[in-house]
Each structure stands twice: as structure tokens, then as C-alpha cells.
């Protein structure tokens, strides 16, 4: 399973995820830090759903016991220039 990609932004494979789970990284937030999956341009929109499935199967966790990763702003990537224009228009 070394060529099955889970996080396509960061090239994290299923094999890497399963190995990390075996090493004791059994929560989404820990796996995110250990493997950096979910930290690319899509911010976990693809891989986090897959990761929940892998955790359920591999670590034997119930879906309701799998805490989703913290969503960080901005919701979509925003160019620096857009926020900069905002900054000069606004008070801040």
C-alpha cells in the first residue's frame, strides 16, 4: 500500500499513516503533526475524511470517538494583497 496517497497536498501515503498509528499516534491532531497531512493547500478537505476511515478501521475507533481536526482560518486560501487592501480601508 506504499503507493496509495491519503494526503495529496503533502504526499502522505496509507502506509505512512498505518505505521504512525501502530507507533501510537491515534488521534487526528497527533497524526497531523507527526505526518503533516492536512496542512497543504486544501487544508485537509480531502485527507481528513479518509483519515477518519483509516482510524476507524486500523485503530478500532468508533466514528463518534474520532475528533475532527481544528479548522483554521481562512476557510479558503486568500491572497495577501486582498487582506492588505482591507487593512488600509479599515481601522486597524
Amino acid at each position: 500500500m506504499s503507493d496509495v496517497i491519503v494526503c495529496r497536498c503533502r504526499d502522505v501515503t496509507l502506509e505512512m499513516v498505518e505505521k504512525a498509528i501502530d507507533e501510537g499516534y491515534k488521534t487526528v491532531e497527533e497524526l497531523k503533526r507527526k505526518l503533516r497531512l492536512g496542512m497543504g493547500p486544501c487544508q485537509g478537505r480531502t485527507c481528513m475524511r479518509l483519515l477518519a476511515g483509516i482510524l476507524r478501521r486500523k485503530a478500532g475507533l468508533k466514528p463518534e470517538a474520532i475528533k475532527q481536526h481544528k479548522i483554521r482560518p481562512p476557510v479558503r486560501p486568500v491572497p495577501v494583497g486582498i487582506l492588505e487592501a482591507e487593512a488600509y480601508e479599515g481601522e486597524d
Binding site: 507507533e23 488521534t27 491532531e29 497527533e30 503533526r33 507527526k34 496542512m39 497543504g40 493547500p41 487544508q43 483554521r72 482560518p73 481562512p74 486560501p77 486568500v78 491572497p79 495577501v80 494583497g81 486582498i82 487582506l83 492588505e84 482591507e86 487593512a87 488600509y88 479599515g90 486597524d92
Partner: protein, 381 residues
């Protein structure tokens, strides 16, 4: 949970994990407890800068010692930490800063650090894309052996290496209280049961103050939110960390090409606040485009916040306290805990093993706050 251990470390951040590693490596029976998971706090939230350019001699020595360790850390821990010596470019905007920076450089050079003062027209030799005049920089200091690493990889690297050497790590284990007899902790109560230990190390970062409170020990530390953001990757075009105390701002490019940086809001109030603010994002956008106009076109991917564990003089608290004999402090890093962790942990391991520390740390004890303190001024607050 095991019943006893020689050293119990509270906190799975980079300092606690590094200490666990150095103690285990030397054959000490060491246990680490962490309320959540490894690197969940400030060690997993900072920008990974490693600088030796400080205004106080103690900090310069701690940082220089750490750099020596970082240079061979991948090999020692058997992992990849993304350590690079890309240098630190520190910008001066006022005559007062120029004076202070020249004093710093002369002190740092007397410690053997490779560092120089740059005139305004020399700054672009280091980073051609920097808008020197537009940001009002009139000089800078430059140290090419400063650099950066991935703080999460370093912290996890220390933790995994510590376990390999025999340390025991309990994640999701919270310290609830202590049993003290004759001014000594005899037992630590945790959410997973009680454990006895000869020494208890308080390496709980911004929560160290709360741990100490359980023992009636008053730490002067205050938690301050510090926000940070990262962009999408673009082709790497500069290697140094660029930093301005005047604008309370720093940024660098990771080896993968992402721009990561932070701005300290001078109006920030102390508190356990992890919220991300739009004020921060806007100010970062304004600063990034002023410093490097072409960054205007790059996408911001993510912003987050962590806590600085700030002491009144912006220097850490290390060593025992008078009132509880076996309660050892390793906190108060004031936003610089990551970069000094390898050396700090080495010193703390020496202290716990009853050896002479290779750098003096007496003047970093809690008791120093009874007298007059020398503040570290080279900080982004």
C-alpha cells in the same frame, strides 16, 4: 501507571521531551506526563527560528550552545528535523536601535559569535527582495549561523528518542495535585493515578504557573497569545529569518517554500487565548507587502495562535525553588523556548544529576525576581 520514577517531567513540549531524552540517555529512570499530546502547545505552534543574537550574555551562551547541538541533532536522534543555517537578519529602524544593536554585536562577538553590523546599503546583499527604504530600515545585524528547524519534528524526535532510551511517556495524563512532606514532594497525583518521584520538573510551558500554584509556589510568568500564519509554497528565494523589533514582526521561508511569520500585537492582554483574529491577518498582510511587495500575490493558507510564557525579564526560570526542595523549574521561556531547548535540557540534566552545569544557571533561578533584573530587550513581544 508506574508507581515510582527518579525524575518526573510535567509537560510534553520541546523542553520536557529534550530533558527526558538527555536523562534517559544517561541512564536515569525518567517519566514524562503530558496533559494532551506531544507538541500540542507552544512547541508545535512556533515558527522554528533559532537565533543566537541576544542582548544578554546568558541568552547568547544558551543559544550558541543549542546551535552546536542542532548542528548534529538529526544524527543524534536518528530523524530529520529540517534544520538549516539560513541566518537571521535583524533590522534597525531608529538611531536608538542602531546603538543597541552595535552594543549587542560587540558583546556577541566577544562570546565568539560570527555576527556583523550592516549599513543600510548592505542589507540587500543578504536579501535582495527586501524593500529596505520602504520599511524605514537604516541598518541591520546579520548572523549567518542562526537558522531554523521544524519545531514539531524536533519535539517528536526528542520524545521518540527518549522512549528508545528507556523513558516512559504518558500522554493524555493531567497533573491534579501533589502530596508534600517536609518541604518535599513525595507523590504526584495524576488523572491516571499517583506516582512517586525524587525530582519533579515543571516544564508545562504557559501552564507552568498553574502547576506551581498547586504547590503554593508563585511564578511571575504570564501567558500571552501570539499569532502566526503560513502561506502556500513558492519557489524558495530567501533563506534568513527577517525580524524587526520595531514592527514586532518576523518572517522566513521554509525549505519547502512556504512563508511563515508572526506579528506581536502590542495591545495583547495576558490570558489563555488561542483564537485567531482578523486584525492579525490584516496586519500581517500589510507588513508582508511593505517588506516584500511581491508577496502580495501569494495565498495565505492558515493562521493559528500559541502562548508565550512570559517572565518579567523575558528570560527563563531554571532550577530549584526555596520552598519545595525537589520541585525544579524549566519554564518562562518568553517565546524562545524552542531555540534554546537543546542546551537548556543539557544543563538541566547536569543539574539533576548533581554535576556542575557547563554554563552557570544560578542567576536564572526564581529567586532572582526578589532583586533587580536585567531584561532581555531583543524580543518580539
Amino acid at each position: 501507571m508506574r508507581e515510582r520514577t527518579e525524575v518526573l517531567i510535567i509537560g510534553g513540549g520541546v523542553n520536557g521531551c529534550a530533558l527526558a531524552y538527555y536523562l534517559a540517555e544517561r541512564g536515569v529512570d525518567v517519566t514524562l506526563v503530558e496533559k494532551e499530546y506531544i507538541a500540542c502547545g507552544s512547541s508545535g505552534r512556533n515558527a522554528g527560528g533559532i537565533r543566537q543574537q541576544w542582548s544578554t550574555r546568558e541568552n547568547v551562551r544558551l543559544a550558541m550552545g543549542s546551535v552546536k547541538i542542532f548542528e548534529r541533532l538529526d544524527e543524534e536522534l536518528g530523524c530529520e528535523t529540517d534544520y538549516r543555517q539560513g541566518g537571521y537578519l535583524i533590522l534597525a529602524h531608529t538611531e536608538e536601535e542602531v546603538k543597541q544593536f552595535k552594543r549587542n554585536v560587540s558583546m556577541q562577538r566577544s562570546e565568539g559569535l560570527e555576527v556583523e553590523y550592516l549599513e543600510q546599503d548592505e542589507i540587500n546583499d543578504i536579501v535582495p527582495e527586501l524593500n529596505v527604504e520602504g520599511i524605514g530600515a537604516i541598518g541591520a545585524t546579520w548572523c549567518p549561523t542562526d537558522g531554523h528547524a521544524d519545531p514539531i519534528k524536533v519535539t517528536i524526535g526528542y520524545a521518540e528518542a527518549a522512549v528508545k532510551k528507556g523513558a516512559q511517556i504518558y500522554k493524555y495524563t493531567e497533573v491534579l495535585g501533589f502530596r508534600v512532606e517536609d518541604n518535599e514532594i513525595v507523590e504526584v497525583k495524576t488523572s491516571r493515578g499517583s506516582i512517586r518521584a525524587d525530582y519533579i520538573v515543571n516544564a508545562a510551558g504557559a501552564y507552568s504557573k498553574e502547576i506551581a500554584k498547586l504547590l503554593g509556589v508563585q511564578l511571575p510568568n504570564k501567558p500571552y497569545r501570539h499569532e502566526i500564519l503560513i502561506t502556500e509554497p513558492v519557489k524558495p528565494f530567501f533563506t534568513p529569518m527577517i525580524i524587526s523589533f520595531h514592527d514586532n514582526f518576523y518572517f522566513r521561508q521554509t525549505p519547502e517554500g512556504q512563508i511563515i511569520g508572526g506579528w506581536g500585537n502590542p495591545k495583547e492582554e495576558p490570558g489563555y487565548n488561542y483564537e485567531s483574529s482578523l486584525t492579525f491577518a490584516k496586519n500581517m498582510a500589510r507588513l508582508l507587502t511593505r517588506y516584500m511587495p511581491k508577496l502580495r500575490h501569494i495565498n495565505i493558507l492558515r493562521q493559528w495562535a500559541g502562548l508565550y510564557d512570559v517572565t518579567p525579564d523575558a528570560r527563563p526560570i531554571l532550577g530549584p525553588v526555596e520552598t519545595v526542595r525537589n520541585f525544579i523549574q524549566m519554564n518562562g521561556f518568553s517565546g524562545h523556548g524552542f531555540m534554546v531547548a537543546p542546551m537548556t535540557a543539557t544543563l538541566m540534566a547536569q543539574l539533576i544529576m548533581g554535576e556542575k552545569t557547563s554554563l552557570p544557571i544560578k542567576n536564572l533561578s526564581l529567586e532572582r525576581f526578589k532583586g533587580k533584573v536585567t531584561k532581555e530587550v531583543s524580543v518580539v513581544g
